[in-house]
Structures are given as C-alpha cells and as structure tokens.
Amino acid sequence: MAMRSRTFAYPYYANFSRDYESVSFAANWSRSIRKNKFCVSIFAEIADPTINELIDNGTIALTCRVSCTNTFYRHVFEFEAKSRELDFEIPGDNLDEKTVLTLFLIAMRDFEYTNASFDAFHSQVVYSIEKGNIMGESDDKVYFLRHGNDKGGADFFTRSFSDAMKDDDPVEIKYLNDSINLVMPKSMYDYLNYAEEKNKDYSEIHGLFLAPALGQTIALMVSSDLDAETSFAAENNTKRWYSILEEKLEPFGEIKPESAWNKAQLLLQRPVNAAIKNGIAEKKGRSGVALIGGSENE
C-alpha cells in the first residue's frame, strides 16, 4: 500500500514504506568506466526471511532498471533466478548527465502472498500477486555523467567540490513555477554523487545547498520590499511553495530578514552542525578512498 507517487494493492517492501514491521533492502553498487562503457556491479541484501525464501525458490526475482531521460535510455536488466548479484555494461554514448538506477523485486508468477513481517494493518491477510507485479524496491541510485561534445562518451566528474565551485556560477533560485527551482551549477552534481555514495547522509547537501536557498527565500518573504512576483503569490495564494513555507514559519512568530538564515537552519534541523559532526566522525573512522578526487575506476 506504500504511497509515494504510486499505490499498490498489496504491502510494498521498500525503505520508505511502513507496510512491514521493518524493512532493509540495500543495494551495494559499484561502477567503473571501461572503454567508454558504464559498468555496474550490484549486490542486493534483503533482510526479510520470507522474501529471501521466495527469491531462493524462484517465485520472486530481482531486476535493475536504468533510466536516463536526456538520451531516452530506459532498460531493465534481469538478475538470474535466485541470484542477488548482477554485472552489466551500458555504452557510454547512451547516457548523459542524470542516470537513475533502481532495484526491484518482481513476481515471476502468480501466487498467494502473506508475510509474518506485515504491519498490524496487513497482518495475516493473503494477497493475490500477479506475474510482473513490483513487490518492492531499493532506494534510487543516481549517477551524474557527462560527455565531451567533440567525441561523446561518458566520464565521471572527478574534480573536488571546492575546485568545482571556483569556476562555476553560484546557485540560482527561480520562483516562477508552482515550486522553488534551485538551478545548480553542473559541478554540484559531483558533490551530490559524493554524498550519495557516502552512506546517504544528506546533512551536507542540506547545509550547503538548501539552507542558503531557504534562508534567501525566507528573507524574500519577510522583507518589506517584495518584488511583484512574490507579492502576487502572497496576495493570491497561487504558489504552493509560498503557502507551505508560510505555514511552516508560523510557529516562529514575526521574523526579521536578518534572522532568515537562522530560521532556515532550524527548519532543516541544523544541517551545518550535523555536517560538521559527521565530518569529524568520518575523519576518525575513515578507511579507503573517497569518491571525489579518486580515480575513475576506484
């Protein structure tokens, strides 16, 4: 039943779902570039014993979907029956910038399904699963690849975040749509990849990208000289971002422009502090080479 953008008629095994008492669906990814080919190796780890049993007897199988909308690439790679490991290659010419990989649990035949780990609401209910149904998914893995216009082919950003920042335009915020769009320099992707690889800790992304943007937005909202676009949004409530943010800021009472940064920090649960703490912890316990600044085949 997990709902994100989709609704399922049966309990869904994913880290964002609450249909099971506990969920642990980890995909261990490694990738490299070889002769203009994007090579991926995956090892899937699933904690639930019933699902593991269904994989072992061939009722459920794993698949990996790779999609890159810039080049219209969308392909499913199927694991062999009972297997939790998969290696595949994609020609680099087919990928450009954002490439999303997701692991799915797929029903290989129709069967009746129940699981002792269902949450209380679904407990002891038997569901009819049809062949092809998606029964669960891992978190998305996002890679950002780029190519040279002259020769094509994908290669990874390998510059460090600080180097990348030196020659890029700063973040630009657009309020024009029914949302706030953060337009980031391409090299920011580099850093997003880095954070993604690094145990999914988003505090640095929040601290570096979102907090300044949110602070600027709050300052814009509370300043006395609103521009025409924002004034119109405020008066006519046409922008969801405006009304949502207004609601979130209500508990803080009156806000002055100079305290906008502090309020942004509070709304994001002080990401800068968390990032600093994580950074210290990581330095103490680090082993191996970080992605950025390493070789492309690490």
Partner: protein, 251 residues
C-alpha cells in the same frame, strides 16, 4: 553533393538567444537570415568547428502541407544521424546547430508559419526552454529523431525497416505517448504504437480522449509492474484488455 562540415554553436550564443527571444525570432520571421548570415547575426566567434560532416537536405518539394513531410524527413534524419552518439545528438547544441546549418529553409517552411507571433513557443522548437526530456519531445529535429529511434526496425532491410514508423504517421494519435517518460523504453513504445495501428487497421481507431486514457492506463501499469521486462505481445494484450473495457463503458 558532398559532405559539408557542421559548425557547433557555443553555449554562450544559445544563452544570448534565450535572453533576446523576440529579437532573434523577428530576424528569423523576416527571412533575413541565411545560414551564413546567421553566423554574422550571432557573431562568428560563437561557432566552433566540429568533427561531424553531413550530406543532407530536408524533403520539402511536392508537399501541399508541410506536416505531410514529417515521415520522409524522419527517415532522412535517421539515416544521416543514427551513428552520432546519442548523448551528443540529443544535446541542445547539436540539434540547434544542425538545424541552422542544414535546415534553415526547412525551419522557415515548417514551423515559422505556425508560431510566427509567439517567439517563446517558437523557440521551444529550436532550443531547450524546459528540461531536456520535455524539450527534445517538442524540438524540431528531436521529436522526429526520437520517433525514428523508437520505431525503426534494424532487423529488417530496405523499406521494411520503416513500416511501423510509416503506419504510426498515418495513425496520428500514436505520438501522444512521446511526452511520457516511460515511453523511453523501445519495447513499450513499439507495443503501444503497434496496438494503435492494429486498432486503426481493424476499423476502430482510437479518439484523442481514448488515446489519453490508454496512455494513463499504461502509466499506471508501469508504476506497479516492470513493463520493460514483458514481451511485446504481453504489453499489447494488456492494452487490448483495457481497450475492450473502455469500449464497453462507452456503449
């Protein structure tokens, strides 16, 4: 004819055009720009040489309506550009440069009359005014190339390669699917088009509203199952089942 080199426009020139939409569009409208003049207009320093060269012309003669040339031009573009790496081909720079270098007259003929008083919408056919996926599906060259890559059958030879593409152009509504990201999978796209073509050949073509409902249904299906892993016939069968239920509701 022999191959002519393609000049690639620099990103800074594209940015200039985007900030001067009306000015650029008016210049195009007044037909004062030929490809050479375009270099001058945008500034010669904005063009770079590229490793690509082509022998290419768009089909324009003998068509009462410009849109009737779409199939022929799709085939020509596919033949000329199929070997260009996709991450280069579907870039804003390449598509715009190719159109200015090889398709200036085609642009004047095919799209200027449609959007003559709307520079912004007109430019959406030339440049990426929104996210790349959406932009390519409306780009003058991008949308034709996308259809070709999806529907040309490389396992066939000669004119047979382009059979499904030709039928799709006759069918019309097929291309509603272009705007859905799940259509990026060739198998899913081909299955949908095959279903639409079959329905037309059986004498019961889908209306616009029915086509939109079919696309929405396919969107729902791809959310709960991996359509890409099914056989083409299985996808067509899923569509046929839904089509039958739609028809039953309409009666």
């Amino acid at each position: 004819m022999s191959n002519r080199p393609l000049h690639l426009i620099r990103q800074s020139a594209i940015n200039n055009i985007k900030s001067n939409e009306a000015l650029f569009w008016n210049e195009l409208k007044r037909c004062q720009i030929t490809p050479d003049e375009a270099f001058d207009f945008l500034g010669e320093e904005y063009w770079d040489e590229s490793p690509f060269s082509f022998d290419f012309t768009f089909a324009m003669d003998g068509y009462k309506k410009p849109e009737k040339s779409d199939f022929e031009n799709t085939v020509r573009l596919y033949k000329a550009l199929k070997d260009v790496p996709k991450n280069v081909l579907f870039s804003e720079t390449f598509l715009f440069s190719f159109l200015m270098d090889f398709g200036y007259a085609y642009l004047q003929w095919r799209w200027l009359p449609v959007y003559k008083d709307d520079p912004h919408r007109g430019l959406t056919h030339l440049l990426f005014m929104t996210n790349p996926r959406r932009a390519i599906s409306v780009n003058t060259l991008g949308h034709l190339l996308f259809r070709a890559f999806m529907l040309v059958d490389e396992n066939e030879t000669g004119a047979k390669k382009y059979d499904l593409l030709k039928q799709a152009y006759k069918c019309g509504n097929c291309f509603t699917l272009d705007y859905y990201s799940y259509a990026d999978n060739q198998k899913v796209y081909k299955s949908f088009v095959s279903f639409m073509v079959q329905a037309q050949q059986k004498g019961s073509p889908l209306t616009n509203m029915q086509t939109k409902k079919m696309c929405a249904h396919l969107s729902m299906l791809q959310g709960v199952s991996t359509l890409e892993a099914l056989e083409e016939s299985e996808i067509v069968s899923l569509l046929s089942d839904y089509w039958e239920s739609l028809r039953a509701d309409d009666q």
